[in-house]
């Protein structure tokens, strides 16, 4: 949240000034660190449309802007479960599929999975997808827990006996109840999609029990902190952890970061490109979405951000190192253990927020 406030926000504001002079401008609001370095330049070169690019690091931030109305963005990238609720709130306009010929590049199976949130894929196209799992510092975890550390299990984080030993090198959780609760439920062997208050209370109990060992709850800070050894275990987004690993390798200080999809199961999510109902320039928005769906563009992004895409045509262009990594493009055995991101009704939502705040603060 804060990160988007500072540097990117300033850059966006600065970029917005000359943009006024031009007719064709598209305002993109995407997750931080979620695009290839040259994507925007290529788009501008090809279409002549100027891009104003701004970033966020949580669905909540995005949603607050969208619900307030007149966000001024043409394309936003909510996660599927948020997309679903926002569709209900009337935030989006249906996509004009005649303007999206590149839709044919998309993986029909994954688009079908995404249709669970967005029937007939009326409002959204998959940008990237991934899982929520565990990012960890291989050496530091081994140093504290030995060779047989349960790095492929949620118990690494949620079992106080391990968490306690890891506390001094730093455990972080995503600052989002809708991401952490299902993981805690999975750890308990309960239905990750459960809305039963008693299940949620139990999950809250798990989260609260490890509270003393948590360094912080944040949804993007852990990328750099993992990379430079500031923290050693994070419940995080797959691609973010890979980015951390890549940064650590670049830094060359001997920090090795690994990502695992816990064997108990993990949340699968889709980040969906969608067009707000009050987008100032929906034509340009469609052009952007169609451009992203070009195989080479999507492949660029995947190669840069280490997230899986849903673009079948792009796969030949993706680095084999990424394409063949089961943690990024999971095989059938892992896919079977993934569960979708949950959408809660207002009552459950309030309960979860309350439990979450309590678990986080210990109050």
């Amino acid at each position: 949240m804060i990160r988007s406030l500072s540097l990117a926000g300033l850059l966006a504001a600065a970029a917005a000034l000359p943009a006024l002079a031009q007719d064709k401008v598209v305002h993109i609001y995407n997750w931080s660190d979620y695009i290839a370095e040259d994507t925007i330049r290529k788009f501008e070169a090809e279409t002549g449309i100027k891009v104003v690019y701004d970033v966020y690091d949580s669905n909540e931030t995005l949603e607050a802007k969208l619900l307030a109305g007149h966000s001024g963005y043409d394309v936003v990238v909510p996660t599927s479960n948020f997309l679903q609720r926002q569709i209900a709130a009337g935030v989006y306009q249906p996509l004009d599929k005649s303007k999206l010929p590149n839709l044919e590049n998309m993986d029909p199976e994954l688009m079908k999975a995404a249709a669970a949130y967005d029937p007939d894929n009326t409002y959204g196209v998959i940008y990237m997808w991934g899982t929520n799992g565990i990012g960890y510092n291989v050496a530091k975890v081994a140093e504290r827990l030995g060779e047989d550390a349960p790095t492929d299990s949620w118990s690494l984080i949620f079992d106080p006996k391990y968490a306690e030993k890891l506390a001094d090198c730093g455990i972080t959780l995503l600052d989002s109840a809708s991401e952490v609760f299902p993981s805690a439920l999975t750890y308990l062997g309960l239905d990750p999609l459960s809305k039963k208050p008693e299940d949620l209370e139990k999950a809250a109990g798990v989260i609260e029990a490890i509270r003393p060992y948590i360094r912080y709850y944040h949804s993007s800070q852990y990328i750099s902190d993992l990379a430079n050894g500031e923290v050693c275990v994070s419940l995080g987004y797959s691609g973010d952890v890979f980015q951390a690993a890549a940064r650590a390798e670049e830094a060359g200080k001997g920090v090795e970061i690994a990502y695992s999809v816990p064997e108990e199961g993990a949340q699968q999510w889709f980040d969906m490109m969608a067009i707000p109902v009050d987008a100032p320039n929906p034509e340009a928005a469609l052009a952007w979405i169609n451009f992203i769906m070009k195989p080479e563009i999507t492949a660029d992004i995947t190669n840069y951000v280490w997230y899986a895409n849903a673009n079948t045509a792009s796969l030949p262009l993706v680095d084999p190192e990424i394409r063949d990594d089961p943690a990024i493009f999971p095989g059938p055995d892992v896919l079977a253990k993934l569960y979708p991101a949950q959408v809660y009704d207002a009552r459950t939502d309030r309960l979860i927020t309350k439990l979450w705040t309590r678990a986080k603060t210990g109050q």
Partner: protein, 312 residues
């Protein structure tokens, strides 16, 4: 001033126009701040107040309109349920108290650190004074956010302080300083220190040296002189500085968010949570309104104290 108005044509016309509307210079002087307050304080406050009695909904914006029209019928529905939540859940009350406590101790710490600095500046030679004041104000030239981020760099486990301490061998394990209440206190004290120093300085620089001499002359050693003369006479400055630190610190969000740990339960964070995570704008507004009311009481107490001190 009026001479300038006479000479510059657009100003002259504006003045004539305003005069025709019955607005004269003096009225305008009052009208401008009034208008400012109206637009930037009262109107937003009313918007928030309105929100706080609305009902949340999955919609855009995410609450139901207060006024509904159905032909000739008009229904106004006010929901006070949002305020009810605040008392249902001890979280809010706890957050209020935590915030007030943290703000209070921050203000006390700021005072303890700021007073000697302000005193020293006020007692320095004039040339030196302006340099020192400049140094106090200097940090404002950098973004507040950047400065708080810089503290992260200092406090983190492999940050400047820990690296130094490890290097000297004073500690062999990095101290956990970031994401603790200690870091929040540090951040608030650091950020708000100028707001304490400046009013204190303004007060202390006016302190009549002859009073200190009189005290010494009557047998007052430096310490008793400080407690019986300097301190009571600087009360207006202390109260002003205290208010300038205490009040904004209660609602502080950025510092606890960036430097605080998960258990730094500041009302600003609760509000943020309510607004963003819960997208419950009405409850968030109710929290804000309640915070304002909760704030008004300490402010009133301090204001009365200040007035009483100033009258004397």
């Amino acid at each position: 001033m009026s001479a300038v108005i006479e000479r510059v044509a657009p100003l002259r016309w504006t003045a004539a126009l305003l005069a025709a509307l019955g607005l004269r210079g003096r009225t305008l002087v009052i009208a401008v701040p009034m208008l400012w307050l109206l637009i930037f304080f009262l109107v937003p406050f009313l918007v928030v107040a309105k929100l706080s009695v609305s009902e949340p909904a999955i919609a855009m914006p995410p609450y139901l309109p207060l006024v509904e029209r159905d032909g000739a019928r008009m229904t106004i529905s006010l929901s006070f349920e949002n305020f009810g939540y605040l008392f249902d859940d001890p979280l809010y009350i706890k957050a209020y108290f935590f915030s007030i406590r943290l703000a209070f101790f921050s203000a006390v710490l700021t005072l303890l650190i700021g007073y000697p600095i302000a005193y020293y500046i006020a007692r320095s030679s004039e040339a030196r004074r302006s340099v020192l004041l400049m140094l106090v104000i200097l940090p404002f030239w950098t973004s507040f956010l950047l400065r708080v981020y810089a503290w992260q760099g200092f406090l983190r486990s492999n940050g400047v302080i820990n690296n130094f301490l490890l290097w000297t061998g004073i500690i062999d394990q990095p101290l956990v300083m970031l994401q603790t209440n200690f870091a929040v206190y540090l951040g608030i004290v650091y950020t708000y220190l100028p707001f304490m120093i400046l009013p204190l300085y303004a007060n202390l620089v006016k302190l009549d040296e002859a009073l200190l001499e009189a005290s010494a002359d009557l047998g007052g050693r430096p310490l008793p002189t400080f407690f019986h003369v300097t301190l009571p006479l600087s009360m207006p400055g202390i109260i002003a500085g205290f208010m300038l630190v205490f009040v904004p610190a209660i609602g502080e969000f950025v510092i606890p968010e960036l430097l605080g740990g998960p258990d730094t339960l500041m009302i600003g964070r609760v509000l943020w949570n309510e607004f963003f995570s819960n997208r419950d704008w009405p409850t968030a507004s109710a929290v804000a309104i309640a915070m304002l009311i909760a704030l008004v009481i300490p402010i009133m107490i301090l204001r009365t104290a200040q007035q009483r001190v100033e009258e004397e």
